[in-house]
């Protein structure tokens, strides 16, 4: 009440009902890092609030405080105008605040209904009534879900629906979603958004975090911007005309020029697939030369994983020995003797699960793939490695609390920059990158794009992405993957095909259904 920030539109009119949730002067520090500073925020029923900010701005921290997962150092959370100290997510749930985490917390071996039964601490369980209620809720919000399906058989989008159902089942009035669309296919995203809008119109409040400006503009009714732990701006969706303006309000400065690729001279062939087959991936044909970016686009789960495993040497091609040639050698020869420097590097999609050890510090994480460079007689030369790692951190502008910060404490963008710097340190000639900008803010994303484009001077890039925009920005050549096959491979200058990419991703070959092609015109 004593706090009065001009950018709370709701405070202007005294007639408005008390906010569902009000945060007052929330502060939270991790050691020297102040992740949240005097945050004041209100969420009203029927609102969809987008929380926007660069990587490390403190969005996830704030939401984990609101959902009871971590605790503020100071400040108060009010629920319906009454202070509510949350000691655990359980407390927050009781107060009607629930969060869908990026990494789903479901028991894989159990069914949807059984997962919903979990955590119902009190009273007698009634699975049958519960099943009914699940079906009712699912129907209400347009979720297609089979209550008896086992979680492990569900797609990411379906699992997310289960998580949301979990909250709805407990009558949550405030739903928090942290980067909910990162794991979704475009049609799943559409469905999610319409369900969220429905919930808002039912009087629930939605808070979501996203790095995709288009989605924010599409879904939000209010937008709050966090920068270095503080809320610096709060406005209505209607106040911003377009993505670029929104991005500039987020970073608080003029954005650098949009990344555009200018072709560089092509060199020798670095990767050649000639009928390569491995598991789901079948009969793949393409080649990548130095200076070239080949973007494999498609909905996740169409054989991209098998392709990547084969090219990085983790899975053996089932086709003939010469069907996969890497850096001028056959697959077998390449795997038998990999070059440490000037070889192949792989930037996996899962930064915290695969590319790094979150519990270890940055130096150890740097050594993870660079240890060959810093060993002598079996001993690691950590001092030399530290100098190199510090160089990388400087060059790639990794913001961290020194070399001895744990990788897990870095924000997504900074960690990705560190991974990129580490992998590029060995001056690779072939780069395999999987969704390299997933979860990154616009600034970091464009930075990563520039780095990848710059690497073309000495390398070829196999870019596997589900983000069409990324592909359009970076690629010289497109390969559209559907059910394990490249259904089309074409140059970025082929604008006709480029416009039809959305269709191809759904399995419709170029020119197959002329009459339907016009509809996907706004893709790309």
């Amino acid at each position: 009440m004593m706090e009065n920030r001009s950018h709370f539109p709701a405070e202007d009119g005294a007639k408005t009902a008390p906010a569902l949730v009000r945060l007052e002067n929330i502060c939270k520090s991790y050691g020297p890092v102040q992740a949240n500073r005097n945050i004041c925020l209100e969420v009203h029923a029927g609102e969809i609030l987008a929380l926007l900010g660069e990587n490390g701005a403190g969005k996830s921290t704030l939401m984990s405080i609101l959902s009871g997962k971590s605790r503020q150092d100071s400040g108060t959370i009010f629920v319906d105008g009454i202070p509510a100290p949350f000691r655990s997510p359980h407390d927050a749930l009781e107060a009607g605040i629930g969060m869908v985490y990026q990494h789903f917390m479901l028991v894989e071996a159990m069914t949807v209904t059984q997962n919903l039964l979990l955590g119902q601490a009190h009273g007698i369980l009634n699975p049958k009534a519960m099943r009914e209620r699940v079906l009712e809720l699912a129907a209400r919000y347009g979720f297609e879900i089979d209550p008896d399906a086992v979680i492990s058989s569900l797609s990411m989008g379906e699992r997310q629906r289960v998580e949301i159902l979990k909250l709805l089942y407990r009558d949550c009035r405030v739903l928090i979603l942290d980067e909910p669309t990162a794991v979704l296919t475009p049609p799943e995203t559409k469905q999610l958004f319409s369900a969220l809008r429905r919930m808002a119109s039912d009087g629930k409040a939605i808070v979501f975090i996203s790095h995709k400006m288009r989605e924010v503009l599409d879904l939000a009714t209010q937008i709050s911007i966090l920068r270095r732990g503080e809320i610096v701006d709060h406005f209505l969706r209607a106040d911003v005309p377009g993505e670029r303006e929104l991005a500039e309000r987020m970073v608080g400065r003029q954005m650098d020029a949009v990344v555009v690729q200018t072709p560089v001279a092509k060199g020798e062939v670095l990767l050649e697939l000639d009928g390569a087959t491995c598991g789901m991936a079948k009969d793949l044909r393409c080649r990548i030369r130095r200076g070239e970016v080949l973007a494999v686009v498609g909905v996740a789960g169409n054989g991209q994983r098998e392709l990547v495993e084969m090219v990085t040497g983790a899975a053996r091609p089932e086709s003939g020995p010469d069907s996969v040639r890497i850096l001028g050698r056959s697959w077998q020869e390449f795997v038998k003797q990999r070059p440490g420097r000037n070889g192949l590097v792989y930037i996996p999609e899962d930064r915290k699960g695969v590319a790094t050890c979150p519990a270890l510090d940055l130096l150890d994480n740097f050594l993870l793939t660079c240890r060959d460079e810093f060993q002598r007689f079996g001993f690691l030369d950590r001092r030399r490695a530290a100098a190199a790692a510090e160089g990388v951190m400087r060059e790639y502008q990794v913001v961290a609390d020194g070399l001895h910060a744990s990788a897990g404490s870095l924000s997504g963008g900074n960690l990705q920059k560190m991974v990129l710097g580490r992998e590029f340190y060995r001056e690779p000639r072939l780069i395999v990158a999987e969704n390299p900008t997933q979860g990154l803010d616009i600034g970091a994303m464009e930075e990563v794009w520039r780095r990848i484009l710059a690497a073309r001077s000495h390398a070829g890039v196999l870019l596997v992405t589900s983000d069409l925009r990324e592909a359009v920005t970076l690629a010289d050549t497109f390969a559209v993957m559907y059910r394990g096959r490249f259904i089309d491979v074409f140059s970025h200058t082929d604008t006709e095909r480029l416009e039809a990419v959305g269709m191809m991703m759904a399995g419709i070959r170029f020119g197959e259904k002329e009459e339907e092609r016009g509809r996907s015109g706004r893709e790309a």
Binding site: S70, R71, I77, F78, V79, D80, I82, P83, A84, P85, R87, S88, H90, D91, E94, A95, G96, R173, A314, Y346, P348, D350, G353, V354, A355, T356, C357, P358, A359, L360, D364, L367, L368, T369, R371, Q375, G378, F379, L380, R382
Partner: protein, 358 residues
């Protein structure tokens, strides 16, 4: 509804970590006092006897050190494997094989000068223990057999094998039918270096330093830590998991084997069937208590060894049954382990919530 609920700590516990050990000990002692009072024995006197016996005098301390040496070596071994999340609970069997290896060296070579002889014994013990450790590693890689089962089962085989040798081929004809080898010659016995604490202490120091350097400085040690921390990242970085698994079990077995060597040479001066008294299992508890940190392993080894010595004393001085010593030890360790729960969790009262939704 009143009561308590378990909640994960969000900040490291601070003072709690210092308070946990004494508090756990206190609780264990209260429990044991009750047990003693049922038997009409004075708990206060028992506590004094226990402490006196384990730590109260120079003699007591030396006795404690003697027991701490094999526990420390075994514990160092299992902690290396635990670090990679390889659950080697076969230290007991590897310890027995170490005793066998050392004895074989003594029976085979004679007339060597003492330093050479002792080094040779340690080497043979390490190789024997290490090979014993390799078996579960091989079984896991080849057939996917869980190492918890195989290391445990190999304990029984290893101990029986050792007993077979002392009851059969290696039995000393001059032992009047007792199952034991002949007394080791003087050059095969670890000399005393500190009071009557023998040179096994030096073995501990060297082993501790070597393990520390290995884990902190070498490439292999680094790979081992990564494999334990995040197996998926290890695969991504092409760390040779299979090789490391074998290596870690061999190293673990070698350290337990060296403990066996020290024990036969310095404590018994011969191989005899009661060599194995559970140090290999105690070592697992110690590794767990110390959360795999080498300095803590040293401290907890001494602590647990002191408990063992102290309870032995209790039996003699207060005529409590032998089993009581075991119960007491078990209680104390259980309380300390349970206390470690509070490093990562805390209890909060479930009161009425203030901020209320209808």
């Amino acid at each position: 509804m009143d009561g308590f609920r378990v909640v994960r700590r969000q900040t490291p516990p601070g003072w709690v970590s210092f308070a946990v050990l004494p508090a756990a000990l206190l609780i264990a002692l209260v429990f044991c006092s009750l047990l003693l009072m049922i038997q009409d024995k004075s708990p206060v006197k028992a506590a004094v006897v226990l402490f006196q016996g384990g730590f109260g005098s120079l003699y007591a301390l030396q006795d404690t050190m003697l027991k701490a040496i094999p526990i420390f070596l075994c514990s160092l071994g299992v902690s290396v494997a635990f670090r990679m999340k390889v659950w080697n609970i076969g230290a007991e069997g590897q310890f027995a094989l170490g005793g066998v290896g050392a004895t074989w060296a003594v029976l085979t070579f004679s007339g060597l000068p003492m330093p050479l002889m002792l080094c040779l014994m340690l080497l043979c013990a390490a190789v024997a223990g290490g090979l014993w450790g390799l078996i579960p590693g091989y079984l896991r890689l080849k057939f996917g057999l869980n190492e918890i089962i195989s290391t445990l089962m190999l304990n029984y085989i290893g101990i029986e094998f050792m007993r077979y040798l002392v009851y059969g081929p290696w039995k000393d004809p001059g032992s009047m039918g007792f199952p034991m080898t002949g007394l080791f010659p003087e050059e095969a016995v670890f000399p005393e270096v500190l009071g009557y604490v023998h040179a096994g202490l030096l073995v501990c120091v060297v082993a501790a330093v070597a393990v520390y350097v290995f884990l902190q400085r070498t490439r292999l040690g680094f790979e081992l830590c990564v494999s334990g921390e995040n197996p998926r990242a290890a695969r991504y970085a092409r760390i040779p998991y299979g090789f490391l698994l074998m290596f870690v079990l061999a190293l673990s077995g070698a350290l337990a084997g060296m403990a066996g060597c020290v024990e036969v040479s310095a404590t018994f001066n011969r191989l005899q069937p009661n060599l194995c008294t559970g140090y290999g299992y105690t070592a697992i508890v110690v590794a767990w208590l110390s959360r795999l940190r080498t300095p803590s392993i040293a401290l907890f080894s001494v602590f647990v060894a002191g408990l063992l010595v102290g309870t032995d004393n209790l039996q003699v001085d207060m005529q409590v049954p032998a089993a009581f010593g075991g119960i007491l030890e078990g209680f104390i360790l259980l309380c300390v382990l349970a206390g470690q729960f509070f490093h990562s969790y805390t209890l909060v009262r479930m009161g009425r919530r203030q901020g209320g939704a209808a």
